[in-house]
């Protein structure tokens, strides 16, 4: 009896060690591929730079006070110079400072939207793909209905029911974003369901919850990582669009889309009000896309819907 247990635990230990080695091996090989790929390296550095700037915004920006309802009418509409790299806006605030603080809002948008919608979508996707039948039909038809409108239009419609704030915009986008993750995970689950390791788990009497979360979910991890990285860029894009239309970030809060929309009224003379926030958005989204693309190569993900 005791010997049996010892044997079992040593088998368990062996499995743990083998798994650990396999994991280290995969990470090592992935990291090697990641390093070799200049595109993903560039994307990763761009995203990292923006995240650092956003976190350290009060310390790295020259005029942190300009992020709020600050006015200095003696220095309005100044062209880019050494003291104001990106120039100043219609009430004399430093555009560079506001762009960096705007990054905070954009990143927060991505975190909140994906933080709400990914777990929800993944759960529904697992359930749909695993159980199949009418459950799958119902869930998948739901995603069809939500995807019948462009994300921006759907978010606009939901936003329109409330007073516009950035928090409402985040919720509205989260309401639609789960569909993409649901579809992705449902597809993977459907194909994993017939794999031997899942059938083995079923045979020894594992519960559905255990199979879903311990056997299937870990195998979705790489696809999810790639999808989330790429999605961060798209969510920021939609958020910037909502702000541009006046339904997202409300002034005096600095939002990149809001800044562009205000700057557009002063084209072409005060070009810096539009050009720099535009470049800032482009930089961040490009970073996420390059990183996501690199991760896809690195983790060797090939799933429909990415």
């Amino acid at each position: 009896m005791e010997a049996d247990q010892r044997a079992l635990s040593s088998v368990g230990l062996e499995i743990t060690i083998t798994r650990w080695i396999a994991f280290k091996d995969r990470v090592g090989r992935g990291w090697y591929r990641f390093r070799r790929n200049p595109i993903s390296l560039a994307g990763g550095s761009m995203v990292l730079l923006v995240i650092l700037l956003a976190i350290l915004a009060p310390y790295v920006t020259p005029y942190p006070r300009h992020a709020g309802p600050f006015t200095d009418f003696s220095s309005i509409f100044q062209a880019p110079s050494r003291s104001h790299w990106f120039g100043t806006d219609e009430v004399g605030r430093d555009v560079f400072t506001r762009v960096i603080f705007g990054y905070r809002v954009s990143l927060m948008m991505a975190i909140v939207v994906l933080g709400i919608s990914v777990p929800f979508g993944v759960f529904l996707g697992l359930v749909a793909g695993y159980f199949g039948g009418w459950i799958e039909t119902v869930i998948m038809r739901m995603t069809d209905i939500f995807l019948a409108l462009p994300p921006l239009v759907m978010a606009l419609a939901i936003c329109s029911a409330f007073t516009p704030t950035i928090e409402k915009a985040m919720l509205a986008v989260a309401c639609i974003w789960w569909t993409w993750h649901c579809r992705l995970i449902a597809g993977i689950t459907r194909s994993l369901k017939t794999e031997e390791f899942v059938q083995a788990s079923q045979t020894i009497g594992s519960s559905h919850i255990r199979i879903l979360f311990k056997d299937i979910l870990p195998n979705c991890a790489s696809a999810m990582m790639v999808k989330i990285t790429l999605d961060a860029g798209f969510v920021i894009l939609v958020g910037a669009g909502l702000s541009f239309l006046g339904l997202g970030v409300q002034p005096p809060k600095p939002g990149l889309g809001t800044m562009i929309s205000y700057g557009a009224a002063h084209l072409p003379m005060k070009w810096w009000l539009t050009v720099f926030p535009s470049l800032a958005i482009f930089f961040l989204i490009l970073g996420f896309n390059l990183l996501g693309d690199g991760l896809r190569d690195m983790l060797d993900v090939e799933a429909e819907g990415i």
């Binding site: 019948a148 541009f244 535009s278």
Partner: protein, 340 residues
């Protein structure tokens, strides 16, 4: 699965989505905002006025009856009155819709004319400078918001070089052709008015390109992938082994199957372009439905908002149905996959 039953299945599926969409819109319009009557009349209206409007809008009835009368209204082309224009929403939409359709169609033309050939070349000459350029275009297309493309286009081509107009569908000095279809390009062609045609084309160039940018990138990459997949197939190898000339292999065996992948996502491209239109019409002061919708949203004009959203949903479902059926017609493999 034969084509007829494939078609029926797709059709039923589309109808199901439309029903679901109408329920969703109904929820957003009638349940989320609390009291649309109060919102429409503003905070200073008396309680009796609000009650009166509620009664007029049929909002004192149970929800399921409200839904039934809402759907009945849709089938009669009645989307309610717009609070801001004081006209029927269906009339408003009929007035603004052609401008948006024209814009989005032009964008689709850009996507097909640039994206597909570019993708074919990039896939055919893999890892050449052309292929690398297609990669750059795809990344830029996805990463630049459409309104930024529009604004930068204005800055360079309108303000900087002064060769393209900044806003509107026609110059003030150009007399508009008589309205037949509402599509300026078509109308001016019918009237044989080539000044108006040239002017309309000049005006549509920048906004349609701004809308198309994302789609160009996506279609290019997709076509490229599909071409390079097909070039690796055995039957291409076999054709080459038989000594069939390269040009012949390309045009006879490679091209047709490689168009299927871009065709299948054209429906999604169309949807994302309709979404982009909301941003780009604002930039260019384009008098289309998206601009009408935005104004309705900012002024809480619920009937108008829901009308616009419904039309976009219907357009998306119909376009997707057409694209799916077309793809199933061209490629029997899609029909077989549907069966599984």
């Amino acid at each position: 699965m034969n084509f007829a039953s494939f078609f029926t299945r797709r059709l039923l599926h589309s109808i199901l989505v439309l029903v679901g969409l109408s329920i969703l819109i109904f929820i957003i319009a009638r349940i989320l905002p609390g009291d649309p009557a109060r919102l429409a009349l503003g905070p200073f209206a008396s309680k009796r006025q609000v009650e009166h409007l509620r009664h007029q809008m049929g909002m004192d009835q149970p929800l399921h009856l409200q839904y039934v009368s809402y759907v009945r209204g849709i089938f009669h082309g009645d989307l309610g009155l717009s609070f801001q224009t004081r006209r029927s929403v269906s009339l408003d939409i009929a007035h603004y819709l052609p401008a948006t359709i024209e814009l989005v169609m032009m964008a689709i033309v850009w996507v097909l004319v640039i994206g597909v050939p570019f993708g074919v070349l990039a896939g055919r000459y893999k890892d050449s400078w052309l292929d690398n350029m297609s990669r750059v275009v795809a990344f830029i297309g996805v990463a630049v918001p459409p309104f930024v493309v529009g604004l930068m286009g204005q800055l360079i081509f309108s303000y900087g070089l002064g060769i393209l107009p900044t806003a509107g569908r026609l110059s003030l000095l150009t007399p508009a052709p008589p309205t037949w279809t509402g599509f300026l390009i078509v109308d001016s062609l019918i009237a044989g008015n080539f000044t108006a045609l040239g002017d309309a084309l000049e005006h549509i160039l920048l906004p349609s390109f701004a809308i198309a940018m994302t789609g160009i990138g996506q279609i290019t990459r997709l076509t490229r992938g599909s071409v390079s997949d097909i070039l690796g197939k055995d039957y291409i190898e076999a054709a080459r082994a038989f000594g069939i000339p390269n040009r012949y292999v390309t045009f006879k065996y490679m091209l047709k199957p490689s168009f299927i992948a871009p065709l299948t996502i054209l429906g999604l491209t169309f949807a994302s372009e309709l979404g982009n239109a909301f941003l780009v019409e604002t930039v260019f002061g384009w008098p289309g439905m998206a601009k009408y919708g935005i104004r309705a949203i900012l002024r809480k004009d619920f009937n108008a908002i829901m009308g616009v959203v419904l039309i976009i949903g219907v357009a998306f479902v119909v376009v997707n149905l057409i694209v799916d059926v077309l793809a199933g017609y061209v490629d029997p493999r899609i029909r077989i996959r549907e069966e599984e």
